[in-house]
Amino acid sequence: MKWNWPFAWHILPVILRGMVITIEATVLGMLLALILGLIWAMLLILPNRWLFWSTRGLTEFIRDTPLLIQLFFCYYVLPEIGITVPALLTGITVLGINYSAYTSEVYRAGLQNIPRGQWDAARALNFTAAQTFIRIILPQALPPIVPAMGNNLIAMFKDTPLLSTITVMEMLNRAMIIGDKTFRYLEPLTIVGILFLIISLLASALIGFTQRRILVRR
Amino acid sequence: MNNKASIEFVNIHKAYQQNVVLENLNLTVAPGEHVVMIGPSGSGKSTILRLLMTLENPDSGEILIEGESIWRTTRDGRTVDAPAAHVRKMRSKVGMVFQHFNLFPHLRVLQNITEAPVRVMGMSRAEAVRRATDLLDRVGLADKSEAWPAELSGGQKQRVAIARALALQPRIMLFDEITSALDPEIAGQVLHLVLELATQTEMTMLFVTHQMRFARQIADRVLFFDKGRIIENGIPEQVLEHPQQPRTREFLNNILQAS
């Protein structure tokens, strides 16, 4: 079977429409991961043993089980308990929760890099705990972790094809539907692969650039 | 002693990018001679040692050990680049002790010393262990043979490094600022060990150091380097006490004031 250019051009717009959903899922999923991850990280530094171990256990479990099964679990079990939402929303939620387990580690590393003296100085100036965290600690902890978060973003982007297994019409799903209908899998699957490659490489280059900028600034 | 020179540098030129480190350098060292090289940092003295140890190649010029070129050899009457085997043969005549010790962190002290004799000279393990134990005894660390390098103090690390270099029985030993990373008191102990070694063997020895008292004690000859050239060359009394060049006087004054 040979590569068929007219066919490839013909299906490209259909696949590109899937990219909108892919990017939507990535952006919203990452937003959720950033928020949840920060919450986990804060629970981990609070001096409460019960909170620490339950947060630890939850993130560990999330990180040690396949995203695919997590997706299946939520996709099939949520309707059973009366929650019926579009598949895309389920997918975004699961992606966000899954990656929050990784972003929490990134936040934690960033927070650990803030010297003890910064907390002490804030205490000496009589800031409240919340003020200290929001105005003193976070502004210092966040810039250095931007590249690591960027890497998580790319990783999540590359995980979005899994959403095709729960009927989300992102790029891979569209490609497979085209393949099933025409029995030509080579063109659609290769196109999807190349699109992923282009975006990942561009994003990696952007992260490398940001990383150098941040290093220079320090 | 034979009358062939131990080491010869002939018209050596070496630069890193635009930065010239050695310029048209000529140097001859007699067998068994102890030569101390002093001078400001970046003046090229460490590069001499690195070139001799084949850690780096000269841009042009010849380096000979016992009359034989390190990098070049004659074949059918023509001079050509020497094969790797030749370079390794020449390298086996030279040993080196580094400023930052460079012990192998994943090998215990005894293995650090036996590794090369077993792998390079093909010595039996038993023989290598026996000799390594002797050497450790000689540097006063007989009880440390099973320690990890990270468990030793700086002075102990450097003494192991000396034993490691000696284990290959080189004819030329290079000492590259071996006490610069050590506390003064510990440095004194290591230098004492080297002085002892110098009187007990007939090895040719080259030193780069900032310890002027040690230089006076050990040197047959002192070279003062400045900007990639040897600008003063003579017995220690002459160079260290009656320097001819203003640049040497200035350097020695600064060192004296610092210590």
């Binding site: 099964i69 | 140890m53 468990e151």
Partner: protein
Amino acid sequence: MLHMLPMMLRGTVVTGEVTAGAIVVASVAASCAVAMRLSTLAALDWPARVYIELFRGTSALIQLFWAFYALPLVLPFRPSPMIAAIAVLGLNGGAYGAEILRGAILSVPRGQHDAATALNLSSAAKMFRVVLPQTWPLILPPMANLFIDMLKNSALAGLVQVTDITFNAQILQESTLRNAQVYGVALVIYFIMALVLAGFMRLLERWMKFPIGARV
């Protein structure tokens, strides 16, 4: 609940096989790629770079579908699902492994290379006796993470007819409709497998450990 266990356990064995096979493929692929990347010959360096970027830049599921649906149309034969899955997941992991290994090798200080040269060690001895043994403490923790990622990625094989935990779970789910139970059990099995793998890697780490100081 009990009647689904035999099928899940059979799936567990297959998941173990796919993961183990993929880890072997990944180790070989990563070693070759790094050897090529460290070579001074551009003809060796570039293919390795392309391999690494290609597999790291696209997603494992796309690679798997491509190998399962598109590749057989170009190849003269159709590899079995198991072989295809092991090859793709292995090559995918190998691309990540290569970056871990290369970073560790490049982080060995120049002084170590100098000392090895000064002791006249051959370049093979330098690599295998001095440089590589020092990289173990650096590569084992990220390698443990990579292997766990590969275990989790093996679930994708269930989507291309490999009868692993995921595949069997899907069949059980369709036949019993006990969604929470089936996928809950699957999650727990994967979790236990990951814990076992992590524990094994920690043992290996302790075994390979040597104390390292600031300057030795």
